[in-house]
Symmetry: C3
Subunit: 342 residues, 3 copies
Amino acid sequence: MNAIQYTVADLAERFELTFSGDGARVIHGVGTLAGAGPGQLSFLSNSRYAAQLAATRAGVVVLREENLAECPGAALVAEDPYVAYARIAALFERLPAAPAGIHPSAVVATGAQISASASIGPCCVIEDGAVIEDGAVLGPHCLIGEDCTVGAQSRLVSRVTLVTRVTLGKRVLVHSGAVIGSDGFGLAFDRDHWIKLPQLGGVRIGDDCEIGANTTIDRGAVDDTVLEEDVRLDNQIQIAHNVHVGAHTAMAGCAAVAGSAKIGRYCMIGGNAGVLGHLELTDRVTITAKSLVTHSIREPGEYSSGVPLQDNRQWRKNAARFKHLDEFARRLSALEKDRNNE
Amino acid sequence: MNAIQYTVADLAERFELTFSGDGARVIHGVGTLAGAGPGQLSFLSNSRYAAQLAATRAGVVVLREENLAECPGAALVAEDPYVAYARIAALFERLPAAPAGIHPSAVVATGAQISASASIGPCCVIEDGAVIEDGAVLGPHCLIGEDCTVGAQSRLVSRVTLVTRVTLGKRVLVHSGAVIGSDGFGLAFDRDHWIKLPQLGGVRIGDDCEIGANTTIDRGAVDDTVLEEDVRLDNQIQIAHNVHVGAHTAMAGCAAVAGSAKIGRYCMIGGNAGVLGHLELTDRVTITAKSLVTHSIREPGEYSSGVPLQDNRQWRKNAARFKHLDEFARRLSALEKDRNNE
Amino acid sequence: MNAIQYTVADLAERFELTFSGDGARVIHGVGTLAGAGPGQLSFLSNSRYAAQLAATRAGVVVLREENLAECPGAALVAEDPYVAYARIAALFERLPAAPAGIHPSAVVATGAQISASASIGPCCVIEDGAVIEDGAVLGPHCLIGEDCTVGAQSRLVSRVTLVTRVTLGKRVLVHSGAVIGSDGFGLAFDRDHWIKLPQLGGVRIGDDCEIGANTTIDRGAVDDTVLEEDVRLDNQIQIAHNVHVGAHTAMAGCAAVAGSAKIGRYCMIGGNAGVLGHLELTDRVTITAKSLVTHSIREPGEYSSGVPLQDNRQWRKNAARFKHLDEFARRLSALEKDRNNE
């Protein structure tokens, strides 16, 4: 393959940034401040790494104006270096080849509609009523079940399963192992055993969403489970039936949302955080890692639960006392009452 | 396909319910109280939704006698509307076609036994010693490993992997991405490195169990890992080696049970709750979401751990104090002693 | 197949152990102390099971010298019975047959290099630039993406996906459903929507690592995600981009490590424990189950967070008081001040 390369001046022009230093320097990849060499571009966004700037050997660094003076070589100045870096770095990404057409090992039902510009990889299975739109790419081992639609330019990396009645918008990216449209967990207890509630709804995923590896999204019991546009889910997230996630909300790995919860727009759900069923979170709510949301949240802001990590011996002593917290509160009140009566 | 439809009177007769209103009304699907139209059936079970009854446009509503007066249209009266709804709604479910026989793309070992009435989907792999009983359905991408049995009428939705020595009972439903019979996590530490313990047991799953998407169930180290009948596991649950789960127990998404724990019958394990290894939980124990069970439980009832969600600023102050709880307890006792000595 | 069997004397010689009792007894399998019969070997390592020794019917028991007197039959005496048992039990493991060569249903790109002694199972897909070294075994449904290497004697049980730029060392064991090399969760927020950061690094897994079922390991954003040798990961673990895990560290099921965290050597991370991003844990740190690590740890030892499980009614009372812990601390200090001023 041909090498991907750009000069510093090229990059400045293409992304409307100013540069300082050697504009003719050729860049062919990216690296960290500590690891990049003369042909690589790096960036400084997080002040945690500011100390590494002076010693960097990177060919060019994307940074804020305020850090320009400490930069030993060429620089590209950006208001938001992380955003600018994200755009530039995309130039150096090589996605796997995905030729239009259907791999001979794929199994495609006669009732499926597949755009001529879509790419269907080895060992994919496409069932009746499935629709694969223009430019969509399915890597190996994907299953597109009955009545599912993969929107234009969407990419299912590999081994993605859409079970039934799932609609993906445009430019949706789904990572390996994700299961979308599985049965919601609906059970009725009938005297001495469980009866299953059929899950008759579907899943609707908006444009520009990203779904992480081994994440699961169940289809609705009656209505649909919904992700609005630009929702970003990390790996191993569980979204139960009839959840509604507002646009631009992001969830970190292993978060879980129980049935019929409604999450607002621009929310941030931390790693392994949980939201109980039927709750509502307004827009712009942040939940820190491993917290459990047990009531609806009406005010934007940051919310947490949990207790701090400690040395196990100290922690054991404190944790044992937690079982007496209510008693302590009463004893404290009794002491205060005594004092006031003195 | 032909539409599925029933009159209200048909449904009343079939499910032994009484009805009020227009028995000749034709129902062809289900909907929520808020969303259903005149051709759809809805239900009222959770008092949370009672306010929606008066305004519903549903063709018929399954409800309790006590709610009948507020129902604007036809009604089906049931003692347990949720159970009655579950049964009725099953009429409207269309399962994917599953013709008997083996799809030509499936790979079947010569030593496998497959009932003529079983359905083996595209890209399935069936290894030596596997047994697939009457009427079992395997969707695409399933793997049935050596010495595994899929019981009669069981359904593996798609991409289900039975690794080795797994026996599924009758009418077991397994969702996409589940892995059953993987190696238990057995390690012995030998001076400066780990040695693996071979996992020589299997997994036995009882009749009528349901296993969620991307759930994992390890096989036993020596004896088997066991789920008794009618156990219901949601998505992304982890069941370690030699766990024993009693009949009719249900676990919500992302719960995890460590090795050799024994869970009773009719237990309810909340979402992302955990049970440590070698513990025993008696029958009818409920564990709330995200709790960690650190000791055996001998009495039926509901158990919890965790602290409440708060605004992050408030939470930080309280959480910091948790590290001094033992000290507080001592200081409180000292004050009480002083008072008593006065 | 032929039965696997050994005499007690054979086993003693092979593993350099002393034996007592009938050295000619034939052993053809393993069992628990409670369940083993006369042809089976059992072991006593955990004092939890010591009471079962006197009544065991096992043909031979691996145990410590100190327990020899209570053993009713033959015994093999070991300093560490668990390690000795692990070695012996491996004799009785039958791995699935894995003939060298490529199954006709596998799809192999012309640019892949596959050793003649490797075994590629049904429905595997091997992409360009992939390298499969000597004696490696890929079970059914594996995907080896571009520029991935599977080291010699490694075994991918089934349905393992290596996405891109993943290198597995020698003798690595990966269980079903694992996804290695998926995109890290890298996003930049640009005014009102998310921009994706391309994930240009890879994953390097050292020799003798084990990766559990449905575990996910993301590739690095710039540099690689790294597991040193003999790292042992249980099921459903999430390792984010650019994490570095030191040699011989073990993590139990559902643990999660956020981006760029650095875990030392010989650490033990408990089930469903979490480590926040960019933290460092020194060597020989143990984190108990479900704890959240929120700061770097410089001293070896055991660390915990969380509160104890209680009956839900008691727990509710205590948990409600947690929200006032800071206030309690102030009130306690005020009382002490009053006392001291008296």
